[in-house]
């Protein structure tokens, strides 16, 4: 019943994204409109996929570091992607593809750095080292990003800031296909690791006794979740709070079993970003807000409400 409800909400969110926009398209013309086919629909679908990827990535990262604060931000991935994109923008790499590739590369470099910091510390993917390494890499990326931005001219500064707050303005069917092609492998990897992740929640030692290869699971999940984030960030810029709040909200309804949590986080993240992007396009039309601002404005109060429920329990 709750799956049916979530499925309906997801379908409704996509419908709203297609039906609403800065310009008026009559309901009767929705199916035939060029605007819907070439702009609104790919943008809505891309928003959903990006949100889904971020939601699942957040759930996976929270599971391996066993910390409710974990998300792509905390683990330095978004910072690395942001630095990559800003370097590309500062180098006048025009067009969406070079910036997307640079962001993707930036996220992967951040992932490798955090991983290496863990190895140097003598504890591969130790949760504490992952978080500390992530925070360090994130802070370092932010410092370099700010240095580049502050040495650049005003126009570059604004363009970089807009990218850092996320946006789906350049969505097209080709970006949708690109994301569709990149998501299955990390998603399947994570889904396959659902059972060991459940065991990991009991603690490392018990999980080991119960047959989970903790180090291998951690490594696989860390790489898969980082890939999901890298793909999402490269096409949409940095959309914050999705990877943090969606897993928590979904756990409240679906519990802690990852076999259920992952699909729920995918749908929930998709719904959140699709609706946030629709708001970003519509509320100040014909102008547009960065979608990350909307997810923060909507997400943070929601999160506060959820927190109150948990602490009241």
């Amino acid at each position: 019943m709750k799956w049916l409800g979530l499925g309906l909400v997801a379908a409704l969110a996509l419908l709203v994204a297609v039906a609403l926009g800065p310009t008026h398209v009559p309901v009767a013309a929705l199916a035939t409109s060029d605007i819907v086919r070439s702009i609104r629909l790919p943008r809505g679908v891309l928003a959903f996929l990006v949100g889904g990827a971020l939601g699942v990535s957040g759930a996976a990262l929270q599971a391996i570091v066993r910390n409710p604060l974990a998300d792509p931000f905390l683990l330095g991935l978004s910072g690395g992607a942001g630095l990559g994109a800003v370097v590309a923008i500062a180098a006048h790499a025009s067009g969406a593809l070079p910036v997307a590739l640079a962001a993707f590369a930036g996220a992967l470099i951040a992932m490798v750095l955090v991983y290496r910091i863990g190895l140097v510390g003598g504890a591969e993917l130790d949760p504490r080292v992952l978080i500390l390494g992530g925070v360090a890499v994130g802070a370092f990326s932010a410092a370099v990003t700010t240095a580049i931005v502050s040495l650049a001219n005003a126009a570059l500064l604004r363009n970089a800031m807009l990218w850092l707050w996320g946006g789906l303005g350049n969505a097209s069917w080709s970006s949708v296909w690109l994301v569709c092609a990149s998501l299955p492998l990390p998603l399947v990897t994570l889904f396959a690791a659902a059972r060991p992740l459940d065991l990991l929640a009991l603690g490392e030692e018990p999980a080991g006794y119960l047959g989970a290869d903790v180090t291998r699971v951690r490594r696989q999940v860390y790489i898969a979740a980082s890939l999901l984030t890298a793909v999402a960030v490269s096409v949409s810029g940095i959309i914050g709070f999705v990877g943090l709040i969606v897993p928590h909200a979904m756990r409240a309804v679906w519990g802690r079993t990852h076999r259920a949590l992952f699909p729920a986080a995918f749908l929930g993240g998709g719904v959140l970003v699709t609706l946030a992007d629709t708001l970003a396009r519509v509320v100040v039309a014909p102008r547009e807000l960065p979608v990350g601002i909307v997810t923060a404005l909507v997400g943070v109060p929601t999160f506060a409400l959820l927190m109150r429920q948990w602490t009241a329990r």
Binding site: G21, I39, G95, A154, N170, P286, R287
Partner: protein
């Protein structure tokens, strides 16, 4: 030997001390204007060492014939050529007070922005007169010319430049019948709105900026809005003049094919400082924009 040098030095000091006294004798009244930040700027004598913190003002100062008195400029001030020989005090976006003071100015002209206003306050504390001017439209620049004319004591020359600028700003526009959108960034798409000099240029050239109704100098819009507003030509900006401009990189982006002007490859690239800010050369900018739009149509 040493003694004589000392005496010469002393004599020099005496001469220097006499100068202000003589000047005061010849002075009629102090020069004062109220700037665009409603600050009263008062000079004891016509400005001799001027630091300009915007390309529009640098160009205006040279047009007013006081170019030789400009002792500091920003890295963006590249017109006329003589301006490039003036030492730069940085990019001027967040004025570098130390670099400005090092040029020993008796007048600093700033742009009306929050950062420049703060800098004007700091300069005032250092007893350096700072003139804050709006320079977003041609009519602003005409007014700026007259204010600067008072402080350089050349009101007649300034008035003739101001009237020239006003004539350009009020000239009847030809009926070009072209609509355009200025694209300053592609991801996310950023366009120029009604509160801008480029919008004024489009109007003067007889073209219609499809985002004239945006109450901002520029704004992020969605591709959907751009597709629906359907401009005939997309205009982009380049830092310097480009003899044979290539179509912008976004022209090949799949998402942009929803825009008719992209599909029909109607692009115009505006290069160089001619289009970047209001100037006494605005008539050339209007004519050039008109010519480019007619050939792209």
């Amino acid at each position: 030997m040493r003694r004589r040098a000392h005496r010469t030095h002393l004599a020099g000091l005496l001469v220097l001390a006499a100068i202000p006294w003589q000047r005061r004798g010849g002075q009629t009244a102090s020069l004062a204007v109220t700037d665009d930040a409603q600050r009263v700027v008062r000079l004891a004598h016509p400005a001799q060492r001027i630091v300009s913190l915007s390309p529009a003002i640098t160009e205006l100062l040279f047009a007013l014939g006081v170019g030789p008195r400009v002792v500091g400029r920003t890295t963006w001030c590249d017109y006329p050529d003589a301006a490039k020989r003036v030492p730069s005090v940085g990019d001027g976006l967040e004025p570098n007070i130390e670099a400005i003071v090092a040029r020993r100015p008796d007048l600093v002209v700033l742009y009306q922005s929050p950062l420049d206003l703060r800098a004007a306050g700091e300069l005032e504390r250092l007893e350096i007169p700072a003139l804050v001017l709006r320079q977003d439209r041609l009519m602003d620049l005409a007014r700026d010319a007259r204010l600067v004319g008072v402080l350089t004591r050349d009101s007649a020359g300034a008035d003739s430049i101001a009237r020239r600028i006003e004539r350009i700003a009020t000239a009847p526009a030809p009926a070009l019948g072209v609509s355009l959108a200025y694209i300053t960034w592609d991801n996310p798409p950023i366009v120029i709105g009604g509160e801008s000099y480029l919008d004024e240029l489009a109007r003067l050239a007889g073209a219609r900026n499809v985002f004239h109704d945006l109450r901002a100098a520029s704004s992020v819009v969605s591709l959907e809005t751009l597709a629906v507003r359907d401009p005939d030509v997309l205009v982009t900006l380049a830092d310097s003049a480009v003899p044979h401009p290539a179509p912008p990189a976004f022209a090949t982006g799949p998402a942009w094919q929803a825009i008719r002007a992209v599909r029909e490859r109607r692009f115009v690239v505006l290069g160089g400082s001619l289009f970047g800010h209001p100037s006494p050369r605005a008539d050339s900018a209007v004519a050039e924009l008109g010519r480019l739009l007619r050939s792209a149509r």
